[in-house]
């Protein structure tokens, strides 16, 4: 029982890390980044290359790869999405095309197999109230909590963060206050991709770098966002808690195979009851037609 609670928490932290970058970008710039999964894999792959080809240490590689991925995202916004901002169809197709292209590119250059793995931060495990948890999982929970606190602080107590929220609430009014919406949107895209990269280097040590992870992460980010509410951080936390515990509960009491059904059912039920997500209040009026 206690193990279930603990592993549910870890699961939720993993889901939250995966979803938060997507939600950040969407909440601020309104761009649904369907290339998000590809950026997740990019973060891991760049880190792997830095460690194994350039021989840098793990910590430095993480920082450099987060910066590279973030810059890449920002440039993608500046040179691709900037031109089609507001054209929904074009945005969807452009990000989706770029994401698919990147993932298939990694597949083509042979990103598969057991050699592609990242080192853990710390080996060994910890005993918490009679349940063994390895350090990597503890770190995941720690990183997730830190990131949530950081994002809350950032969006409530820094100038940039307040500008982010202004754009998310009303773009025209914030323009009148001298907030550059295009620049802010570019930064939000960069930050979203940067978070994807961070999530990747924390989570991937538990398994391998796989191209399939790209679409898995995207599905999860979308599912969490749809259930929790696309643009609110509270929604992401709630969504990942629901999925995290649901997965563990189903795996313990029924059959691990049924977890996907729970996910599908959760999405459909939430869409029927409250289409803009459980916490999605910001854009409720706009989205509900």
């Amino acid at each position: 029982m206690l193990g279930m609670l603990l592993y549910g928490l870890i699961n939720s932290a993993v889901f939250m890390l995966m979803a938060i970058g997507f939600s950040l970008t969407f909440g601020i710039s309104g761009v649904a980044n369907f290339a998000y999964g590809a950026f997740y894999v990019t973060g891991a792959y760049v880190t792997w290359q830095l460690i194994n080809s350039l021989g840098l240490s793990f910590a430095i590689s993480i920082i450099i790869s987060a910066i590279i991925t973030g810059l890449f995202g920002a440039l993608l916004y500046r040179f691709v999405l900037f031109r089609i901002r507001g054209l929904l169809l074009s945005e969807i197709i452009a990000t989706f095309g770029i994401g698919m292209g990147m993932l298939e590119f990694y597949r083509s250059i042979g990103l598969s197999g057991h050699s592609y793995k990242l080192p853990t931060f710390m080996d060994g495990s910890l005993e918490v109230l009679g349940v063994y948890v390895d350090y990597q999982r503890v770190i995941i929970v720690g990183v997730a909590a830190t990131l949530v606190f950081f994002l809350w602080f950032f969006s409530h107590h820094t100038k940039m963060g307040l500008a982010f929220r202004g754009i998310a609430q009303n773009e025209h009014t914030s323009l009148a206050f001298g907030i550059e919406s295009e620049f802010t949107a570019m930064v939000s895209m960069g930050m979203g991709c940067c978070l994807a990269s961070l999530a990747a280097v924390v989570i991937i040590p538990l398994s391998l770098i796989q191209v399939e992870e790209g679409s898995n992460v995207l599905i999860l980010a979308l599912a969490v966002g749809i259930v929790g509410g696309m643009e609110s951080i509270a929604g992401v936390i709630l969504g990942s808690l629901i999925f995290g515990y649901a997965q563990i509960a189903v795996a313990t009491y029924f059959n691990p195979h049924y977890t996907v059904i729970v996910m599908l059912a959760a999405i459909l039920i939430v869409l029927v009851i409250k289409p803009s997500g459980l916490f999605g209040k910001f854009k409720e009026l706009e989205e509900r037609v």
């Binding site: 969407f26 649904a32 369907f34 691709v80 031109r83 089609i84 054209l87 929904l88 169809l89 074009s90 969807i92 197709i93 452009a94 989706f96 095309g97 770029i98 698919m100 292209g101 298939e104 590119f105 597949r107 083509s108 679409s215 995207l218 599905i219 979308l222 599912a223 966002g225 749809i226 195979h257 049924y258 996907v260 059904i261 996910m263 599908l264 999405i267 459909l268 869409l271 029927v272 289409p275 803009s276 706009e286 989205e287 509900r288 037609v289």
Partner: protein, 346 residues
């Protein structure tokens, strides 16, 4: 004068410019024509007749291998039409493979478990698949914008997992040894016939008042609502009509290959139709057709480069949507409807 054009421009003595004139048969809009002679009627009929006759004659001329390519081209073109139709009603789907896969699995299941022959399974799964998908997506129709794309993207991937994990409908191995269609000729002409019916049917439907409402929902849903029209009903109907074409494609492919499995939900069936529509030009159906008949044979020729194909498609897709959002077809159409001539500038 035309021959001396290059030279003149070099010397700079006489300056010419190109003048483009619409042919004098258009009345007010792009879809209403005022014809005054058989010649003009022929002029309008030619591209339409050329498509029909060309497609009907093509299987007789091609070797067997390329007939199979033609079948797949028509399947992808059908998916592209379906995508284009749903997009015209303001719903941007990233999950053509959902409609395709549901149709495919319904046909496979009906054939494998109930032992129905393809004559019954194909129509049943066309209608059944469309109804199933519409009901599944119904809650999302209340939301605007991005949610439709997200949900249609997520659903097929979750359905794959469910089939994979629980092993229903053949699980990972899929259902094989299903009843085939009688022979290749029946297959190719069946798919061509359905494709032509969809192409011209959708085009016709979009020109009626019903189509006008669908376009209105895309452009300004609030305006349509203020006319007292229930847009959810219309969206659901559009989804039903659009997804039935894709479900048919799925059911057809199941019997064509005598197999249905997890590849029926593969991402290819999403990305290929969208790439075809974007390259050809969204919104006209003819553009989607054109794109499919350019890209699919190209795919076949580029088979050697393997997974790089998808990279190439994605690249095309992104470049076209950003730089040439109208697609190739609009350009060709404009060329066809305009007379170009050189005139002297004063």
């Amino acid at each position: 004068m035309i021959l001396s054009f290059g030279k003149d421009r070099e010397s700079g003595n006489i300056k010419h410019r190109k003048e483009r004139l619409d042919r004098g048969i258009k009345a007010r809009s792009d879809t209403i024509y005022a014809l005054s002679s058989y010649r003009e009627a022929l002029y309008l009929l030619f591209p339409r007749a050329a498509t029909i006759i060309g497609l009907l004659v093509l299987p007789l001329l091609l070797p067997e291998y390329w007939i199979k390519v033609l079948v797949i081209t028509c399947v992808v073109a059908l998916l592209a039409l379906s995508w284009d139709f749903i997009a015209l009603a303001g719903m941007f789907s990233l999950g053509q493979t959902l409609f395709f896969g549901v149709g495919a699995y319904l046909a496979g299941g009906l054939n494998h478990y109930v032992r129905l022959s393809p004559i019954f399974t194909i129509p049943l799964s066309t209608v059944g698949g469309a109804i199933f998908c519409t009901i599944l997506i119904l809650p999302v129709l209340r939301l605007r914008g991005i949610y439709f794309a997200m949900v249609t993207f997520v659903l097929p991937l979750l359905l794959i997992r469910i089939i994979e994990m629980t092993g229903v409908l053949g699980g990972v191995e899929g259902l094989s040894a299903l009843s085939p269609l009688p022979n290749l000729w029946v297959s190719v002409y069946l798919i061509i016939a359905v494709f032509l019916v969809c192409l011209f049917g959708y085009r016709r439907l979009m020109d009626t008042d019903y189509g006008l409402i669908l376009k209105g929902i895309k452009n300004n849903d609030l305006a349509v609502m203020s006319r007292g029209i229930n847009i959810y009903l219309y969206k659901a109907q559009a989804l039903l009509i659009g997804s039935s074409a894709a479900a048919f494609a799925g059911a057809f492919v199941t019997h064509h290959y005598r197999f249905v499995g997890l590849p029926a939900f593969s991402m290819d069936y999403t990305i290929l139709p969208i790439a075809c529509t974007v390259v050809g030009g969204p919104g006209t159906f003819a553009g989607a057709t054109f794109g499919a008949f350019v890209l699919m044979p190209l795919t076949e020729l580029l088979r050697a480069i393997g997974t790089w194909r998808v990279v190439l498609y994605s690249f095309f897709m992104v470049v076209f949507i950003i730089l040439v959002p109208e697609g190739i077809f609009h350009y060709l159409q404009r060329k066809y409807h305009q007379i170009e001539r050189l005139v002297k500038t004063e």
